[in-house]
């Protein structure tokens, strides 16, 4: 599990586009494949809102490979930090966000290191 800065995500998306856009035919083929395999493991983007010193939702089911983005709607900074310290968003400024990629299955209890009364849980399958 690691943090993916926005510019790297953008670069990866751009790279992915370069691979699938050489021709319209190839693009159509990729789309067709995607439609035929709806159960294929495509990472899901989840969002957790931080509001009034709470993670909303405070418990979230995810899959390995998914991303989770915390959006801070409070006027003070917060973090989302795994209790075992395997991942950490670092300080999330007011009206900002930070994203992690889930790399391990299992329970991921986490907290805000600035305000330890704030607790959340990711369940990764």
């Amino acid at each position: 599990m690691h943090i993916v800065p926005g510019h790297l995500r953008a670069a990866r998306r751009a790279g992915a586009r370069l691979l699938v856009v050489p021709t319209l035919l190839a693009l159509a083929g990729v789309a067709a494949c995607a439609e035929r395999a709806p159960n294929a493991a495509r990472p899901t983007r989840h969002e957790v809102v931080i509001d009034n010193f709470r993670y909303l939702p405070d418990t979230l089911a995810v899959a390995v490979g998914d991303t989770v983005t915390w959006v801070n709607h409070d006027y003070v900074p917060h973090t989302a930090t795994a209790e075992d310290h395997t991942w950490d968003t670092g300080s999330i400024a007011p009206d900002s966000s930070a994203t992690v990629v889930i790399r391990r299955a299992g329970a991921h209890p986490y907290l805000c290191t600035f305000h330890p009364t704030m607790r959340g849980l990711l369940r990764a399958r």
Binding site: N52, F53, Y75, P77, F114, H115, P116, M118
Partner: protein, 205 residues
């Protein structure tokens, strides 16, 4: 005991404020779009505490919040440098960050509304208490400093939380000010919980 004294003192000055503000407000003193106004006491249910009936004006509320934030931010800055335990230092640093952010919100809202925070007996009392606390803390060191600082933080945040719940939020008339106060409540509550936890691990009370 210290907390009880602080609560009583705050309620007393808020009460003085409230009684003073039951007179009609001069709305001409502020721009028309500024809805920070005085309010009259709400009907008080029989089971309500006396503090619930006390009212303050929106400009006075702004001044009270500014004074409270400033006092705790100043003490936090001292704890950050003078505290002994890592927890106390970290807590002090958090107080500087969070109460500074709260004050920026109040200042920005007052500017947006074209309103000027109005100093009053409660804001003055909070400044006096803050000054006395700083004087007391300056004379301490080591674990005695940590204990005195955290004890005060527990009492202070409980007092402010009570004031928010019973006086400031119910009295606020401007919707944006009320929303800001409601947004501030969990900040204070989280600080109180953290201070209590530190206090308990220090073997206090």
């Amino acid at each position: 005991m210290q907390r009880a004294w602080m609560v009583l003192a705050l309620i007393a000055v808020l009460g003085a404020c409230g009684r003073k503000e039951t007179v009609p407000n001069n709305t001409e003193a502020m721009p028309a779009e500024t809805t920070m106004t005085a309010v009259t006491p709400m009907p008080m249910p029989a089971e309500s505490t006396p503090a619930m009936a006390m009212t303050v004006t929106d400009p006075q509320i702004a001044a009270i919040v500014l004074a409270a934030n400033s006092a705790d931010s100043t003490a936090g800055a001292l704890a950050k440098t003078k505290g002994t335990s890592a927890e106390v230092k970290k807590f002090g640093e958090r107080m500087v960050t969070d109460h500074g952010a709260s004050n920026r919100q109040v200042v920005a809202l007052a500017k947006k509304l074209g309103a000027t925070p109005e100093d009053n007996a409660t804001s003055q009392k909070m400044r006096q208490d803050g000054d006395q606390n700083m004087a007391m803390l300056q004379g301490l060191s080591g674990s005695a400093f940590d204990k005195a600082y955290i004890d005060h933080e527990v009492a202070y945040h409980q007092t402010v939380l009570d004031a928010l719940d019973h006086t400031l939020i119910p009295s606020a008339q401007n919707p944006e000010l009320k929303a800001l106060l409601e947004k501030t409540r969990p900040v204070v509550a989280a600080h109180l919980d953290s201070a209590k936890k530190i206090q308990s691990t220090m073997g206090m009370h």
